[in-house]
């Protein structure tokens, strides 16, 4: 009965083209079409994109290493932001740092905050994995078999972590007044320097992860564990330890993302949820489980979202990431860098 409602390949293509033309027409119709404003859009898009990319990187890393999707990853992002903010509040009152480095005072404190978020979230991730996720694998078969239980546990963890953060830091949005110097002028608009700083730190973290995975012995072990737990066991890798390390690294990267976002936006208890959803869109766009794909997908989603909310309509900002995800899934279901299942990592 529904047969006649189905469109052929050609029909799909026509509708698709109409949609894209409508989008382009909308963009061209916007009042501000100068190259200068495009530079602003690009900067903001890249800076938002690298944050999505960093969280997507963690999700992809956990997916390749543990064969499960971690739905509580946004909360590690949020708690990472709070960890950075707490460190900032502690260091902000210390006069001796100011006396020691009067010039680069704000920067040094901020870098310490980033480092704190990285380390504390890494340890927190290992703790969560050991205490809450590992017992689910007791029945045998490891993470691959216990997958569904762990995914549900991730949802639960997400709720629990939000409420714990609510108890500790209360739901009021908190400013993160990092003193990083004067705003920069990009495309006729004065943007805080944190936008550019986010891009550079994000790329540095992603590059560092690439170096770690490809050039060090521990990285080699992580790639082996991601491919096959059994064979990794047989070459003498301590697989349970490496699973903890993978989870810890993914959470540490999310924590850095949270602290990076802090000064530009604000730190709120509920910031993790929407970031998680956007990061999923980014991971899917880039190819789920592919690490460079996560960063590229993050950039794509970030730029598309910013450009759309600037040129088309800013009132539906959260819609565009998922629109892009649907479009990419229609054209290329594996995402940009989608690979065969067992060639991952």
């Amino acid at each position: 009965m529904f047969e006649k409602f189905r469109l052929g390949k050609r029909g799909e293509n026509i509708i698709f083209t109409i949609f894209i033309l409508m989008y382009v027409a909308y963009c061209l119709n916007s009042p501000d079409m100068s190259f200068e404003s495009f530079k602003t859009v690009l900067t903001i898009g890249l800076s938002v994109g690298i944050i999505y990319g960093l969280v997507a990187l963690g999700i992809s890393l956990i997916y390749t290493g543990l064969d499960v999707v971690n739905f509580s990853h946004g909360e590690f992002f949020m708690i990472g932001a709070f960890a950075g903010l707490t460190m900032f509040n502690i260091l902000g009152n210390q006069d001796w740092i100011f006396n020691l480095f009067p010039e680069a005072y704000g920067w040094i404190i901020y870098v310490i905050c980033l480092f704190t978020a990285f380390v504390s979230m890494g340890l927190f991730g290992v703790f969560i994995e050991r205490i809450f996720l590992r017992p689910l694998t007791k029945k045998g078969g490891g993470y691959t078999v216990a997958g569904m239980g762990i995914i549900i546990c991730g949802f639960g963890l997400s709720v629990v972590l939000i409420n714990v953060a609510y108890l500790i830091w209360n739901p009021v949005a908190k400013p993160f007044p990092a003193e990083l110097g004067l705003p920069m002028e990009i495309g006729g608009l004065f943007l805080p320097i944190t936008y550019v700083w986010m891009i550079f730190v994000g790329l540095f973290v992603a590059g560092g992860l690439w170096f770690f995975l490809n050039k060090t012995k521990m990285g080699l072990g992580i790639r082996a564990v991601a491919f096959s737990k059994d064979v990794s066991n047989l070459v003498g890798i301590n697989v349970p330890l490496y699973i903890s390390i993978i989870f810890g690294i993914a959470c540490a990267i999310a924590g850095i993302g949270g602290t990076l976002v802090g000064p530009t936006y604000q730190v709120v208890v509920f910031m993790g949820y929407i970031i998680l959803m956007k990061a999923f869109a980014a991971a899917v766009v880039g190819g789920f489980g592919n690490l460079p794909g996560a960063i590229v997908g993050g950039f794509t989603v970030g730029i598309f979202e910013t450009a759309s909310s600037f040129y088309v309509s800013g009132s539906h900002k959260d819609l565009y990431a998922f629109l892009l995800m649907i479009i990419v899934l229609m054209i290329k279901p594996t995402g940009f860098f989608g690979v065969q299942v067992k060639m991952k990592a």
Binding site: V231, V235, A345
Partner: protein, 239 residues
């Protein structure tokens, strides 16, 4: 060197081994034969710690190793060599071999062992920068054996090294296994290719329904009627 005593094990709730006994002497090649689903590979997996032993003991160098975590068994010098399909396809040959030497402490040891493996299998040296996914079946098997040798083991256990390979390549690989033995290692071979395995081995065990059915010197086993029956399910074929 390796002593399996009344071993009972299986997968989940399915019991496969019903009290298997076997012994591997130092510097010997022992063949473990049997049809599909008789428990050959289960013994190997229990010995290398991939599955739990329910009852019985496994001794390696007079030390009980049953139910130790796999990486500690590797550290004690007992290494299982998987079938050729279990390499890391997205990594190069050298990276695969470096993974085999994961437990080594120094870079010098790694380098020496790499040279040793390339000495056994010159083919791998020619292909060392290629992705493992592009190797042929014989080369993959060589890579697996080489990876097993990288960690300086005292004993290696081979899981069907001749599976799905041309006879010429099987001969080549078996010659190398003999060379490895001459260099001081102990070898346990699990095989379906009875004739080849018995030609290579000093001693043989035939497993049936989870227990050792027949055992003996391989020269004797070669002409043993009960081996043919046990292995081929009663049909008198030319083994």
């Amino acid at each position: 060197m390796l002593k399996v005593n009344q071993l009972v094990s299986g997968y989940g709730t399915v019991q496969i081994l019903n009290g298997a006994n076997m012994k591997v002497d130092k510097q010997s090649i022992v063949a473990l034969l049997g049809g599909n689903g008789t428990g050959k590979s289960t013994i190997l997996k229990a010995a290398s710690g991939l599955i739990r032993s329910w009852k019985g003991t496994i001794e390696f160098n007079n030390e009980q190793i049953q139910n130790l975590p796999p990486h500690e068994i590797v550290a004690r010098g007992l290494v299982q060599v998987t079938q050729g399909k279990d390499v890391f396809p997205a990594m190069s040959v050298t990276e695969n071999l470096r993974l085999g030497g994961f437990i080594l402490k120094t870079k010098q040891q790694l380098k020496d062992n790499l040279e040793k493996v390339f000495n056994y299998f010159p083919r791998l040296n020619e292909r060392k920068d290629q992705l493992a996914a592009t190797l042929s079946g014989g080369e993959l098997q060589m890579l697996c054996i080489g990876r097993g040798l990288m960690s300086n083991p005292k004993m290696i256990m081979l899981d069907e090294p001749s599976a799905a390979l041309a006879p010429q390549i099987v001969l080549d690989i078996f010659k190398n296994i003999n060379r490895i033995r001459k260099d001081g290692l102990t070898v346990l071979v699990v095989e379906q290719n009875v004739r080849m395995a018995l030609l290579l081995a000093d001693y043989g065990y035939v497993i049936k329904d989870g227990v050792i059915n027949v055992e003996g010197e391989s020269k004797k086993l070669m002409y043993d009627e009960s081996v043919k029956e046990s292995y081929l399910g009663g049909t008198k074929a030319n083994v």
